[in-house]
Symmetry: D2
Subunit: 377 residues, 4 copies
Amino acid sequence: MGMVGGGLDAFIGAVHRRAAAFDNEIELVCGVFSQSPEKSKAAGHAFYLPEDRVYASFEEMIQREKELPEDVRMDFISIVTPNHMHFPPAKMALENGFHVICDKPMTLNLEEARELAEIVKKSGLVFGLTHNYTGYPMVKEARDMVRSGKLGAIRKVVVEYPQGWLSKFEEGNDYKQAIWRTDPTKSGAAGCMGDIGTHAENLAEYITGLKISELCADLTTFVPGRQLDDDGNVLLRFDNGAKGVLHASQISNGEENSLKIFVYGELGGLEWHQMEPNTLKFKSQEDQRIIRPKVNALSAAANAHVRVPAGHPEGFFEAFANIYRNFAFAVKAHMNGQQPDPLYDFPGVEDGVRGLAFIDTVITSSQSDEKWTKFIH
Amino acid sequence: MGMVGGGLDAFIGAVHRRAAAFDNEIELVCGVFSQSPEKSKAAGHAFYLPEDRVYASFEEMIQREKELPEDVRMDFISIVTPNHMHFPPAKMALENGFHVICDKPMTLNLEEARELAEIVKKSGLVFGLTHNYTGYPMVKEARDMVRSGKLGAIRKVVVEYPQGWLSKFEEGNDYKQAIWRTDPTKSGAAGCMGDIGTHAENLAEYITGLKISELCADLTTFVPGRQLDDDGNVLLRFDNGAKGVLHASQISNGEENSLKIFVYGELGGLEWHQMEPNTLKFKSQEDQRIIRPKVNALSAAANAHVRVPAGHPEGFFEAFANIYRNFAFAVKAHMNGQQPDPLYDFPGVEDGVRGLAFIDTVITSSQSDEKWTKFIH
Amino acid sequence: MGMVGGGLDAFIGAVHRRAAAFDNEIELVCGVFSQSPEKSKAAGHAFYLPEDRVYASFEEMIQREKELPEDVRMDFISIVTPNHMHFPPAKMALENGFHVICDKPMTLNLEEARELAEIVKKSGLVFGLTHNYTGYPMVKEARDMVRSGKLGAIRKVVVEYPQGWLSKFEEGNDYKQAIWRTDPTKSGAAGCMGDIGTHAENLAEYITGLKISELCADLTTFVPGRQLDDDGNVLLRFDNGAKGVLHASQISNGEENSLKIFVYGELGGLEWHQMEPNTLKFKSQEDQRIIRPKVNALSAAANAHVRVPAGHPEGFFEAFANIYRNFAFAVKAHMNGQQPDPLYDFPGVEDGVRGLAFIDTVITSSQSDEKWTKFIH
Amino acid sequence: MGMVGGGLDAFIGAVHRRAAAFDNEIELVCGVFSQSPEKSKAAGHAFYLPEDRVYASFEEMIQREKELPEDVRMDFISIVTPNHMHFPPAKMALENGFHVICDKPMTLNLEEARELAEIVKKSGLVFGLTHNYTGYPMVKEARDMVRSGKLGAIRKVVVEYPQGWLSKFEEGNDYKQAIWRTDPTKSGAAGCMGDIGTHAENLAEYITGLKISELCADLTTFVPGRQLDDDGNVLLRFDNGAKGVLHASQISNGEENSLKIFVYGELGGLEWHQMEPNTLKFKSQEDQRIIRPKVNALSAAANAHVRVPAGHPEGFFEAFANIYRNFAFAVKAHMNGQQPDPLYDFPGVEDGVRGLAFIDTVITSSQSDEKWTKFIH
């Protein structure tokens, strides 16, 4: 693995590195960790990389690595830069034969996303997108329960993602994470909706297997001086006639990272909270069950993503690691000329296109006087 | 107290009777408990009433009681019939000098509500509306915290009221509670939104002190054959610029009576769940507190509605009893020519008008292609 | 009902009155509410009693009421005084033909308890003891699950009752509840163990149907100047070979009224918390279920003690009212010459004797160097 | 790092490897993963080790590695075998200049533990013991709160560790984890008390800074045919006069891995549950606070063990990794001739001796008729 971005002061880069290493399937062999060559070198040193595998630009990395012997060079790149720097390295890597795993949202805008989807298709290579919340075992279980009909036809979905960390003008406080996420040139057209609204959208579609067909959004920028939305409320309609609500916020004061989803069908309902990820609740009018890893007889899909006995909490890193491990399995399968095992799934370029389409649609809707805006796709 | 409705097979009538009796301030002295004189008599007998105080119609009750000596006759009537039978006895009672406490929604439609507001005003009598969830001590505390500025300016409100009990066509099962609630001639123009959406609306406005100024609603009837909405999702805008979401449902399979509210301000957030009513959560980016009766130094408003030491759970009946006790205090004050004590507040006719206006507005909005519908008032 | 104790400044008296009145089966007709005749009169006035039914002593009340016509006089007395004043009125009432319901612990000491058991037996009258926590529907359900074998043979019981309200020397603060509870002449030989340890003991035996056969106790008085134990830890052995732990405390700083019980059998385990009384958890190695009123198909025993639909929280008063209602049913049955319906059970004199025996046993054990002390009975 | 034990079918070996690798401070360079040379080789291959660094015995590993150049050979060994195989490799490694990190309980018996303590002392080398639950940030915070006096003098400690996985005779089911843990030749003199009771004992002493001075234990073997205790209840007395309860079980049917601790002092109480490890509750009679990573201003000790923003759950692996990282820091410091930074603490040989002493003491007490047994040390 060669990494693009993720220097010593980045948050998500360290998460990706730990996730990649977690199952001993992936080794960091090279990287360009910063736009500043000095910072990149310092990071490479801290990560115990040889100096000649720490590069000054992604272009240099891709070119030089390509020239290395096959068993030495990196197999894929991991892109963990701010959003505006996803597309260029992804495109160049794919065009030079490297697989790609990339943070979300996939690109700066929908146009890039569509172009990237074409490039991936043409390349035949593996593309992974780190919608990491789909890596939790109980999310896999929830999806399996819906698929296997335990809820009956889905009628209603409520997905919510409140955070409070941008309740003040943090981008004025030299707070790096806040600065780029509220800067449209780096984050894209949406703030909150791009950063976490897309996670909510992806999770809802992943678990239910449904697609949002139209929506009605009300986005707001509450904090004076902020350039992008920091809150959004959205009515959803799904392609099977189900209805829903999605709300996400970065000004929900006091909320940590409180992604939750509720799915109701004709036969029962499900509830999952990211902050207590090892518990899935199933409810009907006659029964309420707590579903837990290594307690219940989980689906094969869920079991394939658990590493410990009951009651040993797995969390954020382990779910993230599941995405990386599954991506690594797919890369291995590709190298061996095999099809990837569907048990070890991970989000891909189509999820990325839908994410950018979601961003475009909520912005269009929020600016419109019409009630319903078709999901652009 | 004279009761209208609430026979032996009714749910809410028994609740009202227990709530009224709870603090030993109110005595049931007469009633008309059913449209059937036999059933009414049987109920009166079960409630240990003398036969001559059990009536065949509310008209008879009001006329006869009026003729009794002042210290014998009922002081007020309690109306616990289906919605279409709220307005007639309320009007007649008020016009004959009796105070009124009434179940919600206040009337069958907005027109009646407005007329009733006029009648109450003209009468100078006390009118109470049993939006019982405002009777919980921790709801009082939440309102006090907002009022006293502990949250700063309110930015976002999420209020949700999922139930699952109408997930099937229960009105076909000789299930009395389901039958009248899904019958527009008895329930009014809305089903779920009238029955529980109004509670959510009332709670949000009660706690925040804000008014909904416009909204965007998507109501649905999921169960085939049903005449009224059984689910609704609503975007809210408040008069101070705050945004919000209200969703209510009777097809959220497996949910019991899960009214919850989340209020976020510039300084902090609050969270309250009806099913764990003695806990109020306060959260900011630096602190998370569990606020509990008789633990924290609560506001006078909250303390005035707690009856037991810490850790002795009070619930639905006690909150309902708070409404009745406060109403009784106001009736007493009226009898003594005094002003009611604002510490012992309860919902009134204006809440009732807003409830019916809410119903009208969500129905109008749901049928409209325009995004925002002004809150009709 | 005639009440002994429970003046205007008492806590538990008001609870008993509300509980007695809750189901409209019991009417307060007379009382002696205080040792001070003035205070007793004031209380009687506040409770809307006629002056001639408010007495100066329990002796006077019993004598005078006995002289009243049968359909006028009280049917039973309710004793809500401090512990040292339980036995005398109970004895006199029973010997004069009145049924008795009494707060716990039943008497000041085991000798009185045994004598009272004899008196009850001889009288043939109904005796109830307000171990109110057995009135919760989910406690009934737990007992039913054990009885019907859903847990298999019971192996282990953990019952804990931590409170924190006596963490300081509150009896020095003119705090009435603290003063008598820490005074051996009024409370008896034990403090914490008598006040709440007996509840824990009773609950464990009630749910499991087992009897404690021997125990090993370590009682402590932590707060300087206090006369009685304020904390106790006890190892338990049950008559079927099950083991257990009971710990109770009034210096567990920050705890409210946190009675909890965990019962483990060969097939599964149960968990119930008094502060969230409407939830019963059942767990096995393959399943975890949340059992809730009006959701699950509860036992007849549990259903007979629920009054509201799912999700409408019932609490402390309702459980207490269940004890009173069931006692009233038994009194009615007695009047009609019938056997009481076992569905409507309530704690009786035998529970009271075991409670006092428990107090004696833990005190003996705590003072002993021997490991195990046989449960005195 | 060279590993002893932890083959492909072991649970805890994989945990140690992931924990060791988590912070990129430790590299697995060699190992002996099984008593079977074939299995050891297969494991080494799976872990991407060169063949010549996979050994047939720990003796061979220590000898051969010692002969390698300093910058190539392993720096320390990690021992993850069953308990009876802890002491021999630990002793030999230390005597040959290698640091040691070892699973708990430290040795098969107290005699070995004391000898090992001597060897560690003589060697001057670093010894770590994976009482992993002390690696959780909120456990560090709890300890810091006690140390800094926020609870006042500690009065009571309740620590409980119920599991249910040995509710049946699993050792008869070819279940490797069950077989060795219930075999006294491999596990030692205690079953449940050795495996998890020691964790509870260690946690209580770690957080409070107190030492158990005497105890009274009742150990039981519930499952027929089992050779060691599967349940134990213990009364505790601490060296400052505090009292406590410790109970641990492997037959608490339906419990997962439910380690919990409650600490009560003169000023407040703390509560922590391993299964929701990112929440620490602080309670007093006036306040209840939820303390969470990156929300509250945590102590330096806690902050040094958190890797993610608020609301991103860290769990079992991350806590385990904290032990390994801190051990690695101490090894580095040792190599550089520096003192270890006390901020990055981890359990050591003295904790190990107390663990074995605890096992001896509870067994002695359980077999004794005397109430109190001094903590053997």
